[in-house]
């Protein structure tokens, strides 16, 4: 549940999307108009909490009278604009962009990538087995999150979230140029030597799974990650008085990942290290021999109340809005 702050009324403007007239508030983007018209325009680098970077170009649409295609995510809707979302030109560019990305990057954990590749008839394998790619070993240099840049499409979202759009930490930036460009700390130093404060806001916005919780990374490696067995529970962080909403992803009664609702007016999807990663105390396995036991515990055949079989330890994580 979140409150929507009231805003001054905005003038509505009319544009056509695939021949259909749509009215959107002034200042809305073409993507907003497409959504209003019920069109499913794919996006990768677009983030609902970030300024559009329009780097991936998978959302391009044809705007009548425009020499090139326009990125729907950042182009403002103008009165009388005629937008084509599924023209041959737009579909061609989207297909090639998907081919270029899928042939150079590991999209296996990118939501909907496989669906779009099928929908647009993209054939990434046509560039041959020797096609250059960004394949590289994942960077595991801390216990909280992993940077697997073989999956990075260079959408700039992590950099923007770390920098002046949210966290103002500036631990990472784009380094190098062209195909050799990467997301990097200064001198490619390990995160533990960098300015990183482990807020995990970069993980929150990563669209491809290049950045992931260490728990998720390890579980995927062990073949245990299974989203169909996960529940999501939104609760309030108990560390301080700010009142951030946490969404706990729970699999097999253990917290495996923590996010925050992007429409939450307190967090806008952002958290700090405590809210994001400080959940271990909830599910610590007890010591082999508890030091103080009541007589009731000793009599209980199910064992002490904080034992791993008890539901009370992760009780707050029961499925609710899942």
């Amino acid at each position: 549940m979140s409150t929507v702050p009231l805003q001054p009324p905005r003038r509505l403007i009319e544009i056509t999307v695939d021949g259909e007239e749509v009215r959107v508030p002034e200042g809305a983007t073409v993507l907003d108009a497409c959504a209003a018209a019920g069109k499913d325009v794919p996006t990768l680098c677009y983030g609902d909490t970030l300024t559009p970077k329009n780097a991936c170009r998978v959302c391009v649409v044809e705007v009548e009278g425009s020499r090139t295609l326009a990125p729907a995510c950042s182009r403002r809707a103008e009165p009388g604009m005629a937008v084509g979302t599924a023209t041959e030109r737009a579909r061609h560019s989207r297909k090639v962009v998907l081919e270029l990305l899928a042939s150079s990057t590991d999209l296996s954990t990118t939501p909907r990538a496989a669906e779009w590749i099928a929908e647009y008839g993209a054939r990434p394998e046509r560039f041959g087995p020797d096609a250059a790619s960004v394949a590289q070993p994942p960077k595991v240099d801390n216990d909280l999150y992993v940077r697997d840049y073989a999956k990075c499409i260079l959408c700039y979202k992590c950099v923007d979230a770390c920098g002046d759009q949210w966290q103002n930490t500036f631990a990472i930036a784009v380094a190098g140029r062209g195909f050799d460009a990467t997301i990097s700390t200064e001198h490619d130093a390990p995160l533990t030597d960098s300015a990183c404060v482990y807020c995990g806001n970069c993980v929150e916005v990563c669209p491809t799974g290049a950045l992931s919780f260490k728990t998720e990374f390890d579980m995927r490696a062990a073949g245990e990650w299974d989203e169909s067995r996960q529940s999501r529970t939104t609760t309030i962080c108990s560390y301080c008085g700010v009142g951030c909403n946490l969404t706990l992803h729970v699999q097999d009664n253990r917290i495996v990942k923590v996010g925050s609702p992007h429409d939450n007016p307190v967090t806008h999807g952002n958290l700090c290290i405590k809210g994001r990663f400080g959940y271990q105390h909830v599910q610590n396995v007890p010591r082999a021999e508890p030091t103080v036991l009541s007589s009731a515990d000793l009599l209980d055949p199910a064992g002490p109340a904080w034992g791993p079989s008890s539901a009370s330890s992760a009780g707050g994580a029961a499925p609710s809005d899942g």
């Binding site: 090139t68 046509r126 920098g163 140029r177 200064e186």
Partner: protein, 612 residues
């Protein structure tokens, strides 16, 4: 912003280089010795951050003095300017003239680009390799150095205090330095009657303001003051002047739109990041007639209400930087720049910024990011520069050649200017003729002259002409039977070509065209900023496909690779953010379609198989 640094310290030399630019550090917070007093306040906020635009000059200072930028030096620059180290690292690694690894003080940059390749750069490269060893340390291959009339060329950069530069053109087999010829050496027409833009090159002493004034200099600025800003814009509009950087946008309309913007301050940016392979006209103007550009920038600033102008010169033009710096300093000392120009109460000054090896910074919005101290990545438009440009303010950005057209327009009047040329292309145009011609150089001809006339002016093709590359790497090839095309924007468009920045590279039968195409593809792959997917990956796939097509024996599935090139090229043209990606396939496409490269030649079987 809470800056965090590792333990790297700058050397005394690195510290001195930065302090020479920025002055000594005022407090311990900025890298000075720490004192008790530093603990009683914290530096920060806007005041500490608003010098971000000095990042590139500071990186240049270290790179010029030491030859490379160490971790300690980068950290020190960051402390001085309140820039996060990760961001500064991202900026430093973007520009190819900066090195973040140790390297010798003296590095020879050997041009391996189109015009030099057409004149034996391959052999030169082998000689250099024999003498200096493998590339990467004391020498490195370089994109076009803008010395095409003296191909094959090289540029030696030697770090020190002061840093030294030496231009080799043509590069001697023993790599010995020779004195650089004067700028007019690149202008075979120098001294001829009828020249407009080049009339003073060779005739005027580029170091002497008095000489410039004696030859008609600053008469146009006085006339501009009589006309008033609106009058100047009216003249430029009526003249029909369009931008000479490649996009051919009407200059008067740009000025009018900028002048009308209520937001202030307005900025003027002169784009002298001339990096299109085969282009060297702006260098010749800046080296041969530097005050003309100072005067033209002053007029543009007066018309559009700018108080500050930035002149962004590519880092590979050391002599142009020297001459322009001298001209700006002299003009300032003589009251032709500063708070009260010519006693008319108009205030304007010019700041010179050096590029650091990035073709993309010639893009009209990437140049803003570069001046502001960021990676030279283009911004998406709209908003256009006249609304939100440099530092987010209304900005006029013009090419050098465009600006130096303005004084002649004001002096001769718009009708006279518009009478020269043909159709919608008014005035004269500078063409950079290189490759297989007897007298390569910069030529000034009225719009409407044919390509044949231009080549004849340059002494004609030195062999059997195979093709002419018009407009540079982003341009297109023209066949020998198309030489009667009139050199106007409309005329070239009619045959599917472009004038671009005025490159005319003649290629004779001795040149390996497929090799030239490969070099073009390599150039775009190297120079793509990496921001958008179609260009970042598309330029790589284009190069890979050309490598396959170049393989001998010819690949069996050449048709598949050609189809692939076409599809990727179309997506680059349609979906890239900026002109680099949008034009990266132009030249290759024209070579395939117009010259028939890869269509039939080598294996005789494929010729039989083709329907023709």
């Amino acid at each position: 912003m809470d800056l965090r640094f590792r333990d790297a310290e700058p050397s005394a030399e690195e510290r001195a280089a930065v302090d020479a630019l920025l002055g000594p550090p005022p407090t311990g917070w900025e890298g000075g010795p720490r004192t008790e007093e530093d603990l009683r306040f914290a530096a920060g906020g806007h005041a500490a951050r608003d010098r971000r635009d000095l990042l590139l000059p500071a990186l240049h200072a270290v790179n010029d003095r030491v030859g490379w930028i160490s971790e300690g030096a980068l950290d020190y620059v960051c402390r001085r300017l309140t820039v996060p180290p990760a961001e500064a690292y991202g900026v430093a690694t973007f520009y190819s003239l900066f090195s973040l690894k140790p390297r010798p003080a003296r590095v020879l940059h050997v041009c391996t680009d189109l015009a030099c390749q057409a004149r034996g750069a391959g052999a030169v490269r082998r000689t250099v390799e024999e003498t200096l060893g493998p590339p990467g340390m004391s020498w490195q291959p370089s994109p076009c150095l803008g010395l095409c009339e003296r191909a094959p060329a090289a540029l030696a950069l030697e770090a020190g205090d002061p840093p030294k530069t030496a231009v080799h053109g043509p590069l001697a087999p023993d790599l010995t330095e020779r004195e650089e010829p004067p700028a007019e050496h690149a202008v075979p027409q120098a001294g001829q009657a009828g020249l407009v833009l080049l009339r003073r090159v060779g005739a005027v002493d580029p170091a002497s303001l008095d000489d410039y004034r004696a030859q008609g200099g600053y008469a146009a600025l006085r006339h501009a003051f009589r006309l008033g800003p609106a009058g100047v814009i009216r003249e430029v509009l009526d003249s029909g002047l369009v931008g000479r950087g490649g996009a051919a946008f009407p200059t008067g309309r740009k000025w009018e739109a900028a002048a009308r913007q209520p937001d202030h301050p307005h900025y003027l940016v002169c784009n002298a990041d001339e990096s299109e392979p085969g282009t060297f006209k702006d260098r010749v103007i800046m080296e041969g007639d530097p005050y003309a550009l100072v005067e033209a920038m002053t007029i543009a600033a007066y018309a559009t209400g700018c108080r500050t102008g930035y002149l962004y010169i590519r880092g590979e033009y050391p002599r142009a930087v020297r001459r322009m710096s001298h001209a700006v300093a002299v003009a300032r000392s003589r009251g032709l720049l500063g708070d009260d120009i010519l006693g008319r109460g108009f205030a304007f000054d010019i700041e010179i910024r050096r590029g650091a090896g990035a073709y993309i910074c010639g893009e009209e919005t990437a140049i803003f990011n570069s001046i502001e101290g960021y990676r030279g990545e283009p911004r998406s438009k709209p908003p256009f520069p006249v609304e939100k440009g440099l530092f987010g303010k209304p900005t006029v950005v013009n090419n050098v050649e465009t600006l130096v057209n303005v004084p002649p327009i004001l002096l001769g009047g718009a009708p006279a200017y518009a009478a020269t040329g043909a159709g919608g292309s008014t005035g004269t145009k500078l063409f950079c003729v290189s490759g297989a011609v007897a007298r390569p150089g910069v030529y000034e001809v009225p719009f409407g002259a044919t390509l044949r006339e231009l080549l004849d002016l340059a002494g004609g093709a030195s062999g059997t002409l195979r093709a002419v590359l018009l407009g540079g790497a982003a341009g297109s090839f023209v066949r020998p039977d198309e030489l009667d095309v009139p050199l106007t924007f409309e005329g070239t468009r009619a045959i599917g070509a472009t004038l671009g920045s005025g490159v005319v590279l003649a290629l004779d039968e001795s040149v390996d065209l497929a090799g030239i195409l490969l070099r073009i593809a390599e150039f775009f792959r190297d120079e793509s900023c990496g921001q958008c997917v179609p260009c970042r990956v598309g330029t790589v796939r284009q190069e890979e496909a050309l490598h396959r097509l170049n393989r001998r024996p010819a690949p069996i599935d050449a048709a598949a690779d050609l189809a692939l090139l076409r599809e990727v090229g179309r997506a680059m043209r349609d979906a890239s953010i900026c002109g680099l990606g949008q034009t990266a396939w132009n030249a290759v496409e024209s070579a395939v379609d117009r010259l028939g490269v890869f269509s039939s030649p080598s294996p005789s079987s494929s010729r039989e198989a083709s329907p023709s």
